[in-house]
């Protein structure tokens, strides 16, 4: 399959030569496949919007190249790129009806009138706004405006659709519904989506692949599963959900296992983790839901004794802060079962099981 969008060693510096010089993107290379739902994920200010604006053609890279389906985009203005954008605040044309907004791109492309009408009808149906075609944007709710923005950007049939935090202004319920809908529209239309968000849950639930960014640099690119389970560094691990970090030294090796001893003197085994030498300082990483909690156990079986410090109830799960008897505090998360057999109260003594395959050694 051809590459949809390729960014090669992009550097973007704003205000070159002034005292406000900001490097928004620092040597970013990305390959986004055709038909992919690709997400740029990162905290505010990390350069996500800038990346989209470079692809759309609103900004020119200071250095580097952008290719769309193998074609160099150098100096091509936005109106000559087969890319459309769903803007962060929708940017609907207030003096036009919903239908006119959606038809705007098609008219500029000089499509025949009957074809335009048909496409507009089809698009409004796709986003379930058929009966609001004659309203003005001001007469729509936020969610409806969002759909108009989507229909307007999809109507000209772009090869790539750029979405800049399109769901951030919606309330939770609507946001969750729109996630599914967006994903479905992407699958149906087969258009390459480049989706920007700072919300890790959104990124995990919708994307084929995610690029995690921070400070104008790409930290990791991978499937949601890769990013969540195998973060390459502490930043990614922390940004994509809760995590335990346990400093340790490599003590030795067993068959495809790394034997580490924690600062507190505990021995933990980690399955199959890279090149390390005895004595290396490493950070072990563990997702809270991978920690198993037990009422009984004896330390010889690898279970660690501890005490519940804090309990936060989330409905479907409960999050515990547990102090192990060596003083280490770890975060654990457990599904709430019907019978309540696995619920613990603050102050309760319990045993914690950390499996060798749930621990990872993090790069720095």
């Amino acid at each position: 399959m051809a590459d949809g969008v390729e960014a090669r060693e992009i550097v973007k510096t704003f205000g070159v030569g002034t005292e406000h010089e900001v490097t928004a993107l620092n040597n970013v290379s990305l390959t986004i496949r055709s038909n992919e739902f690709f997400t740029l994920l990162g905290p505010s200010g990390c350069g996500k919007t800038t990346m989209l604006r470079l692809i759309a053609g609103f900004e020119m890279p200071t250095r580097g190249d952008i290719l769309l389906f193998g074609e160099h985009m150098e100096d091509l203005p936005p109106n000559q790129r087969a890319v459309n954008t769903v803007f962060q605040h929708y940017a609907l044309f207030p003096h036009m009806s919903v239908a006119e907004n959606v038809a705007f791109g098609l008219r500029r492309l000089r499509k025949p009138k009957d074809e335009t009408d048909r496409t507009v009808g089809h698009m409004l149906e796709l986003v379930k706004l058929g009966d609001l075609a004659h309203r003005r944007p001001a007469q729509l709710s936020g969610g409806q405006q969002q759909r108009v923005a989507l229909a307007r950007a999809l109507a000209p049939g772009p090869k790539v659709l750029l979405l800049d935090e399109p769901l951030s202004a919606l309330d939770l319920k609507l946001r969750q519904a729109m996630r599914l809908e967006l994903k479905q529209i992407q699958r149906e239309t087969g258009i390459t989506f480049i989706f920007v968000t700072h919300d890790q849950e959104e990124a995990l639930s919708m994307s084929d692949r995610i690029a995690v960014m921070s400070n104008g640099e790409v930290q990791q690119v991978g499937t949601p599963h890769d990013i969540y389970e195998y973060p390459v560094n502490r930043f990614v691990a922390e940004f994509i959900g809760d995590a335990n970090f346990i400093p340790a030294t490599v003590a030795g090796f067993e068959t495809d296992m790394l034997v580490c001893s924690t600062v507190a003197g505990r021995t933990l085994r980690v399955r199959g983790s890279g090149d390390h030498n005895t004595g290396d300082l490493v950070t072990l990483f563990l997702r809270p839901e991978k920690v198993l909690l037990h009422r009984q156990g004896e330390t010889s079986s690898g279970r660690l004794a501890g005490e519940v410090v804090d309990v936060v109830y989330y409905g479907s799960e409960t999050s515990y802060r547990i102090r192990l008897d060596d003083g280490t505090v770890i975060l654990a998360e457990d599904r709430n079962m019907l019978d309540g057999s696995r619920r613990f109260a603050g102050g309760e003594q319990l045993f914690v099981e950390i499996g060798a395959e749930t621990l990872r050694v993090l790069g720095q």
Binding site: S44, G45, T49, A56, G57, F58, P77, P78, N79, Q80, V83, N84, T85, F87, Q88, H89, Y90, A91, L92, F93, P94, H95, F104, G105, R108, L109, R136, P137, A138, Q145, R152, A153, P156, A169
Partner: protein, 281 residues
């Protein structure tokens, strides 16, 4: 007037003050209008109702000639001034920073603070040196120069408040720069352009000093003509023509108000307003 939550409405005597202020503003005009219906030929003695003076105004060819001059000058001036002001506003607001940006902004708005008599003398000398005599054209050129800033201010204000993401969205949807201007910038700028046009029309229409200096024979405008009538004594005819002038102005402003309400009613409170906040977050 119904009293709302506004605290200021509770101050004692405020109503009286308000009435006094309005009286000060409008009483002279009211009296002028009333006396324009006076049958007497003495300006200040009421002898009965009559429309004679209006009839006389209508029969007076010089008045009509001056009125037509005024309208033609104001119309053409408005077209020129608004077009130039729109171009200037676009360049200064949407054109990015360029050398001389601040200086240009200052130069465009400078006529607002230059005393009118100075402008008048300067333009007069300028025309004399060039030996330029285009009749009414001289007046139009002079009026255009001092109307530009009045047209410029509201257009610029509107443009500054307009979110650039709409124009970007248009570019993204395959508009050339010109199409973006035609389909997005211009329609959204229209209330500003209308205000600017309205201001320059009214200011051109009632300009006196500059016109008096610059207007060659045959280019007399209504204010200049009325002034020349007054020098021969205040007659009810002056009252009548002034009343007509006043009525025309009120009509004009009302039309503008209705028009702008129609144009404005569209973009109010849409996605544009919340978009100004964080387009780069």
């Amino acid at each position: 007037m119904k009293r709302r939550h506004l605290e200021v409405g509770r101050y004692h005597g405020l109503g009286t003050w308000t009435v006094l202020c309005f009286a000060f503003l409008y009483l002279p005009i009211g009296i002028l209008i009333i006396y324009s219906f006076n049958a007497s030929s003495l300006a200040m003695t009421w002898t009965g109702f009559s429309l004679d003076w209006y009839a006389k105004v209508l029969r007076n060819d010089s008045i009509q000639f001056a009125a037509v001059n005024s309208l033609v000058i104001a119309t053409i001036t408005t077209l020129f001034a608004t077009a130039i002001a729109t171009a200037a506003a676009l360049a200064l607001v949407r054109g990015g920073r360029f050398t001389g940006h601040t200086a240009s902004l200052g130069l465009v708005t400078l006529p607002l603070v230059v005393p009118e008599i100075v402008t008048a003398v300067a333009v007069l000398i300028f025309f004399a040196n060039l030996n330029l005599n285009l009749g009414i054209g001289n007046v139009i050129i002079a009026h255009t120069t001092f109307c530009i800033p009045f047209a410029f201010m509201p257009i610029r204000a509107r443009l500054v408040g307009m979110d650039t993401s709409l124009e970007q969205a248009a570019r993204d949807l395959y508009s050339s720069e010109w199409q973006t201007f035609r389909h997005i910038t211009a329609p959204l700028l229209m209330p500003g352009i209308l205000s600017g046009a309205m201001l320059s029309f009214v200011i051109s229409l009632d300009d006196f000093i500059i016109t008096l200096m610059v207007a060659p024979a045959g280019a007399t405008t209504l204010p200049v003509y009325i002034y020349s009538m007054i020098r021969q004594g205040i007659t009810p005819e002056v009252n009548a023509i002034s009343s007509v002038f006043f009525a025309a102005s009120v009509l004009l402003v009302s039309i503008y108000w209705l028009l702008s309400r129609r144009v404005m009613s569209v973009p109010k409170g849409t996605g544009t307003s919340n978009a100004s906040g964080g387009s780069r977050t």
